[in-house]
């Protein structure tokens, strides 16, 4: 079976500064890679490269069997991204935002209502996103990310702004597919992970099966 993600000496530089360097790993389909690291460690850069939004400047990347960026068009639509930004228009309602994305991804309208229900936003679906709380916006963003039922989910701190009840609500939507998740929570992150990657200064400082990693090793990345 083709691995979902294959990285070989992946790097991304902004001028002289290397945001990401020498990242090599393989993630099998259906597995979860959790990426730890302090701010500026390169986590978001890694997610944006995997999402085809950023070109690598070194190494090779294969996502869902396709080489990036050469075959990026072949994986767009098979990837869902939940980043720091919700990718929602503030003046449009939750439903209007999802409808817009559904049209881009050719998803049937019924899926929108199903997801609004699933994330507990059906009653506020008509309200402009600008009037929603951060947690509510995050719930709509989760709905947007999984709207087209992607094979690969790229999640940048998916539980940010969510209270425990809301986190419980969205969790089932985020499971059951290949995932790359960034986290600052060693215990919670490792509990979710099959593979743990620790980044520091854009370079891998830790790469191991999650079961073999202790939370203290993750904590050391931040010191």
């Amino acid at each position: 079976m083709t691995p979902a993600i294959e990285l070989e000496k992946l790097g991304r530089a902004y001028g002289e500064r290397a945001a990401l360097a020498d990242v090599s790993l393989t993630v099998e389909a259906g597995r979860t890679l959790v990426v730890f690291g302090p701010n500026g460690a390169g986590k978001s850069t890694l997610l944006r490269i995997l999402a085809t939004l950023l070109r690598p400047t070194a190494g090779t990347v294969r996502v869902l069997g396709e080489e990036l960026p050469r075959r990026a068009w072949a994986v767009r639509g098979r990837i869902g991204l939940l980043g720091h930004e919700p990718l929602l228009y503030r003046e449009l309602s939750a439903r209007e935002n999802l409808r817009y994305h559904a049209r881009l991804h050719q998803v049937p309208e019924a899926r929108i209502e199903e997801l609004l229900d699933a994330v507990g936003m059906a009653r506020r679906a008509q309200d402009p996103v600008a009037t929603l709380s951060r947690g509510m916006v995050q719930r709509v963003a989760v709905a947007r990310a999984v709207l087209h039922d992607p094979e690969l989910l790229l999640l940048d701190e998916p539980r940010a702004n969510l209270d425990p009840a809301a986190a419980e609500l969205v969790d089932p939507l985020l499971r059951g597919r290949t995932r790359v998740v960034t986290s600052h929570d060693p215990a919670g992150g490792l509990a979710d992970a099959d593979i743990a990657l620790g980044l520091r200064g854009g370079r891998p400082a830790l790469l191991a099966a999650a079961g073999e990693v202790k939370p203290e090793q993750i904590g050391a990345l931040y010191r």
Binding site: A51, T52, R55, G77, Y89, E91, Y100, L104
Partner: protein, 223 residues
Amino acid sequence: MRVAAAILRKELRLELRTFESIPGMALFSVTTFVVFHFGLNRATVAGDLAAGILVVTILFAGMLGLNRLYVADEEQGGFDGFLLAPVDRTWLFVAKAVALFGYLTVLEIVAVPAFAFLLLGPGIGQALPGLIVVLALVNAGFAIIAALVGALAVRTRARDLVGPLIALPLLVPVVIGAAEALEPLLLEGGAAVLPVRWLLVLGLYDLVFGLLAIAVFDPLLED
């Protein structure tokens, strides 16, 4: 086409919610006519002067629209949301150009009567059919260039400056063609025949730039 329709619907809905572009453009044009009225120290204008004032005012008012065209996409993650979709990126250009064409048309519905009332010596009635043809060609040229340049400018720090600085030189042929085509329509003694040669120049420029924009728009959106 489905994708362009989805983007266009979203654009129009955002404009109707925020009124960020059209009212500002219309108000700017009327204010400019008032300034010309007093600045030229003339009760009325006709011929080449009238044509020049009308075209340049529409051009500058349109710059406000250019500067706003991609702001919501850049600030609210609309670019990333669109780039993640498995669609031809050229549809974004098409939808933005059509939206701006519409904004300019609404602007002219306000600006042309205001111009006729505040500045124009000869009556506008006889010139109206020709005026509509010329302004439609101006709008098309402006919308094509603005939709292309706007996507480039919005990702720069000084986007409000960069957009007009790139667009204005590219729009000089449109200004010349439009002013030459409008001059006989706005003569003191009544409208003369519409100069077909200048209509062809405008049409050809729109066509060439339209094709050029379609060719370069996709690479322009790469990081």
